[in-house]
């Protein structure tokens, strides 16, 4: 199962083509992204209509995701409200401080950095390591490297991607397209090769398309649906009333057995007492006999 968790939502007509093309390339799960820049609007409902206005391939599973641009660390991102509207929530930090906030405290699913710009500081493992250990994945978007005609942007994407791969030691990474048009989409095997050229290795590259994004999707789903994010009932089973009676009868039987056992237990304990009584009585009898004999003698 291959995932592409970042396909920007542009317009219905263009996106229909993108979705069909993704299916043709062999992807199974696709997330349509809507980005929030600056202050969040009052109405947080997703602009991606549900269901989509065009027929989608039945094999493909489509998710909804939102990107929040973290420009100011102090502002409130209203993540619980966003969680109700979207399947996935990604944070896009713009500077060092917000990146730290996203790694350490923010309740998001994915950290997605804009790789086409240059960062002033190196990424550090302790910061990204906390994010990975919390289950927040870090996203590498290859779309800009392929589509942009600007060679510095391309260089920045490649250098930032290799830096991230080095710092995270290949763990907790997701590869996704973030392609503004259909042309930026590539087949999973091509992306895996790209990852291996960038120093991630083929196996890890495959994980970045299959295992890691799947864990993000499932973890996000559990967060929303399950009890306290821990217990989820997949299929509770049905209980016809007739069977319930039988179960009740069994329970009763069990109870009676228990009672019997208790009775047995009590019997088990009593013999010792009764035995003592018996011995006492025997002694008594002997004594009686002795006294009788003595009396006779």
């Amino acid at each position: 199962m291959f995932h592409d968790l970042n396909v920007p939502w542009t317009s219905a007509k263009e996106l229909q083509r993108a979705v069909v093309f993704l299916d043709e390339l062999g992807y199974d799960v696709v997330a349509l992204t809507h980005s929030y820049g600056g202050r969040l609007p009052a109405d947080l409902t997703s602009p991606v209509p549900n269901p989509l206005p065009f027929p989608t391939p039945s094999r493909l599973r489509i998710l909804r995701r939102c990107n929040i641009f973290l420009t100011d660390a102090a502002s409130n991102f209203r993540i619980p409200q966003l969680q109700q509207q979207y399947d996935l929530i990604a944070a896009r930090p713009t500077d060092e401080k917000t990146l730290q906030q996203a790694c350490q405290s923010l309740d998001v699913d994915i950290i997605s950095l804009d790789l086409s710009q240059k960062f002033e500081k190196h990424f550090k493992f302790p910061m990204l390591g906390t994010a990975i250990s919390r289950g927040v994945k870090i996203e590498l978007c290859y779309g800009q490297a392929i589509l942009s005609t600007d060679s510095t942007a391309k260089r920045n994407v490649i250098s930032n991607a290799t830096q991230l791969i080095r710092v995270t030691r290949g763990r907790g990474l997701i590869m996704s397209s973030e392609a503004k048009s259909v042309l930026g989409l590539r087949a999973p095997s091509d992306v895996m090769n790209l990852a291996s050229v960038w120093g991630l290795g083929l196996e890890r590259g495959k994980d970045a398309l299959t295992k890691e994004p799947r864990s993000v999707v499932e973890f996000a789903r559990l967060k929303r649906q399950s009890y306290k994010g821990i217990v989820d009932i997949v299929y509770g089973g049905e209980k016809p009333p007739v069977q319930e009676k039988v179960v009740d009868g069994k329970a009763k039987k069990g109870q009676s057995k228990d009672q019997k056992r208790k009775a047995q237990d009590s019997l088990d304990t009593t013999p010792a007492q009764s035995g003592e009584e018996k011995t006492v009585s025997k002694r008594q009898m002997k004594k009686n006999k002795k006294t009788k004999l003595d009396a006779e003698v």
């Binding site: 199962m1 042309l183 095997s189 091509d190 895996m192």
Partner: protein, 187 residues
């Protein structure tokens, strides 16, 4: 005897942008649009030049020196938009990456394309077999469509997935092994 080791990349050219026929209002299925034939003006020499330019752009003179040694297009079929590209074994990843970064065919044609490497093989025989297998698949699919019947295999897969696709039944889905097979075959 010591041989020069090569890799053979089986490449498909896909056309994600809408074709002129579709724009003219003809109802062409999208599947066929993606697998459209390549214009005749595009020939093997241009493909080689395209790959070389891609390598030069991504890897510079070093890449050119390393990959150019045995680079050659050994097979090209414009009808199915399929090519087999030979390249040195140590540096096939560079050639592949150059193909991945290609977005359109060169000047006179100027059509946006996506290159998809479908198989990496160590011998040309296996690469050819893969091409034949794919062509056969396309022919059978086209025949099924002509007869008006639906694609049996695809329909079967769709049905199986639909059966499983109760809202959240994602816990038991099997990874598709095709890609990794083509990788392992490359050894």
């Amino acid at each position: 005897m010591v041989r020069v080791k090569n890799r053979y990349l089986v490449v498909n050219i896909l056309y994600p942008a809408s074709s002129p026929a579709a724009r003219a209002g003809e109802a062409v299925p999208e599947l066929l649009q993606f697998h459209a034939p390549t214009p005749d003006a595009f020939h093997t020499g241009q493909l080689v030049r395209l790959v070389r330019e891609g390598i030069a752009e991504l890897f510079g003179d070093y890449g050119m020196g390393m990959a150019n040694r045995t680079l050659k297009v050994t097979y090209w079929s414009p009808a199915t938009s399929t090519a087999i590209i030979r390249c040195p074994r140590e540096h096939y990843e560079m050639v592949w990456a150059a193909l991945t970064f290609t977005t359109k065919l060169p000047r006179p044609i100027d059509v946006p394309v996506v290159f998809k490497v479908v198989r990496v093989s160590g011998t040309i025989r296996k690469a050819e077999e893969e091409v034949i297998r794919r062509a056969k698949g396309i022919i059978t699919r086209a025949r099924e469509v002509e007869k008006g019947r639906k694609d049996v295999i695809v329909e079967g897969v769709v049905r199986a997935v639909e059966k499983r696709a109760e809202p959240d039944a994602v816990l038991a889905q099997v990874d598709e092994g095709e890609e990794s097979e083509s990788e392992s075959d490359s050894e």
